[in-house]
Symmetry: C2
Subunit: 342 residues, 2 copies
């Protein structure tokens, strides 16, 4: 092969991304430089944060430039290696972008043990989303037996891990998800005590539904979604509660004025009244603990003690469609794209 395929950002979206914001391109197959590896991608990951990279605004990462390859994590087989940790035939997790091949520095790749779990798990339950959940809960959750935890996107790879960690720590775990099918999966597959369908509910209705399932209030809220769920959770937070702010998918397509609508009195005041701790979370701050995560969680995935669900799209060319669906909650479980049989 002398050519590779990739998907680039053709234009910036206003609101929800559309087909015309993406473009499939063919390019020369890259050669790994010093310390680099060339990888044939087997699976690539799709995640809500990618929506933020499409905007030209300050965030925790630079935006994707127009004409630049869309960013993504992936897992695949090493074809060529100029790095001592990798040999051809090894498997590597890294940021290869929306592409069927990629060259990255070996120092920035994680070597994947294929006996641990199927390859795609390296992008979900044993990858960045699972690690995000584990890092946030272990660093900031301060879980105590008998407490109540709420998490949105409860069947997603972050929410489902959060819920399972909470149950294993002896908490009551309440999920929030979109639709009856996901809510059933949250309870049956991931062991949530209950799951609330957020569809058609404003903040007040969310509050009432949550209050019914959280008779002792909410001690930990793992914030994945923003929007009415957050509005419903805040009035129910208990004294010394913890809110871990991991994502806000409900607002990713928003275009609000940056100084309008800052937190108004009564609810911001809840932070004071109940001495809440609200903590922003990004997994990169915790990356030194990734080996600890793998050591602790990989055996539980193998034994089935930690469940996971994946939604697999087929082919790089279908990545934009799968991504647009993801942002609307159209997927069930961790969204990945199968790129090749590597």
């Amino acid at each position: 092969m002398t050519k590779m395929n990739r998907i680039v950002l053709a234009s910036r979206p206003t609101g929800a991304p559309q087909d015309e914001n993406f473009r499939l391109e063919t390019a020369e197959m890259p050669e790994p430089g010093e310390g680099e590896i060339l990888v044939q991608v087997a699976y690539m990951s799709l995640d809500p944060y990618m929506r933020g990279r499409m905007d030209d605004v300050k965030s925790y990462a630079q935006p994707v430039p127009i004409g630049g390859t869309m960013e993504a994590g992936g897992i695949g087989k090493v074809l060529k290696s100029n790095h001592p940790n990798f040999a051809p035939g090894d498997y590597a997790v890294g940021r290869f972008g929306w592409a069927d091949h990629g060259v990255i520095k070996g120092d920035l790749a994680f070597k994947w043990d294929p006996d641990m779990a199927p390859l795609s798990a390296g992008l979900g339950v044993l990858g960045m989303p699972g690690f995000t959940a584990w890092a946030g809960i272990t660093a900031y959750g301060k879980l105590k037996e008998g407490e109540t935890l709420v998490v949105g996107a409860a069947t997603g790879p972050v929410g489902s891990m959060v819920g399972q960690l909470a149950k294993q720590a002896g908490l009551r775990a309440i999920g929030v998800a979109g639709g009856a099918e996901k809510c059933r999966m949250a309870v049956e597959t991931f062991g949530f005590d209950a799951c609330i369908d957020h569809r058609g509910k404003d903040a007040r209705a969310m509050r009432d539904a949550l209050a019914a399932e959280c008779p002792k209030g909410i001690d930990v809220y793992f914030e994945n979604v923003g929007g009415p769920t957050l509005g419903g959770v805040l009035p129910l937070m208990n004294l010394h509660g913890r809110i871990i702010v991991c994502g806000m998918i409900a607002w990713y397509n928003g275009a609000e004025d940056e100084t309008a609508g800052f937190p108004t009195g009564k609810l911001w005041r809840m932070i004071l009244v109940n001495r809440l701790t609200v903590q922003g979370l990004l997994q990169t701050d915790h990356v030194a603990r990734f080996p600890e995560f793998i050591k602790e969680v990989a055996p539980k995935v193998k034994s089935g003690e930690i469940a996971y669900v994946e939604d697999v799209a087929e082919g790089l060319e279908n990545a934009p469609k799968a991504f647009m669906s993801l942002l609307k909650g159209g997927n069930t479980g961790k969204q990945v794209v199968k790129i090749s049989d590597a």
Copy 2:
């Protein structure tokens, strides 16, 4: 004396308190029971939190009942004691209410050393407000030399202590206050690097004024005020910044719907993007450290290393007027009411 005077809550205010919400009453002089002390109040404290106690809503303390004595801390001379720690003639700090005499449990009173500082300081710089500032900064501020701190109500007893602690730790300290005179005092008396007059500024104007004084962004925001100041601060917060939520005077008179206006996307998202820690603060959670505070700060007050400013109203009957003025920022420095020469 067989009679005492007190001020009770006559009715609950809607918005800003009015004269008719208060009533001066004469009552029988109380007798201390077992373990209790009777104190003649010299000074009572007026603080913004008292506005919250006038509403019949859940907060960190019970509301004052209609007809009940308004709550306040005070300092005065022990007249009678049934508690081993106190003898007649000693001075005690405690919650005597808006009253010229009070009976409280000796276990809930703090014995005041009159050689430490003038009596009124026990309600301000060496009392609850000074302790609140010190406890919040030492427990949650994580101050680092060269960082930038912002605090509102900069000439008040909390804000002025926060600013001085920040300067002594080597930070740039920017105050926010109402009016040119307070801003000058913040800089000249309390050593702030600059102070911004919030009058007439919306959130956007506050942001621009703060940006000009905080060229390296804001690392620590000690939240005393809420409103447009908070709206202006949030977009300027740096990576891993800390927000300590201590009070929100701008919103204490508000009557917002409890689920309306929850934090909207862009600014709540700042918590995620910059991995901020937002921490509610109430000094009662830290009360075990009060002796450490006195040991550390009292010598600095005596030496003049920590400055303080007081606004003294005269006479119990003038407490409502002084309180209403306080809520509008009409005072300069810690507001106390002189009740007697005890």
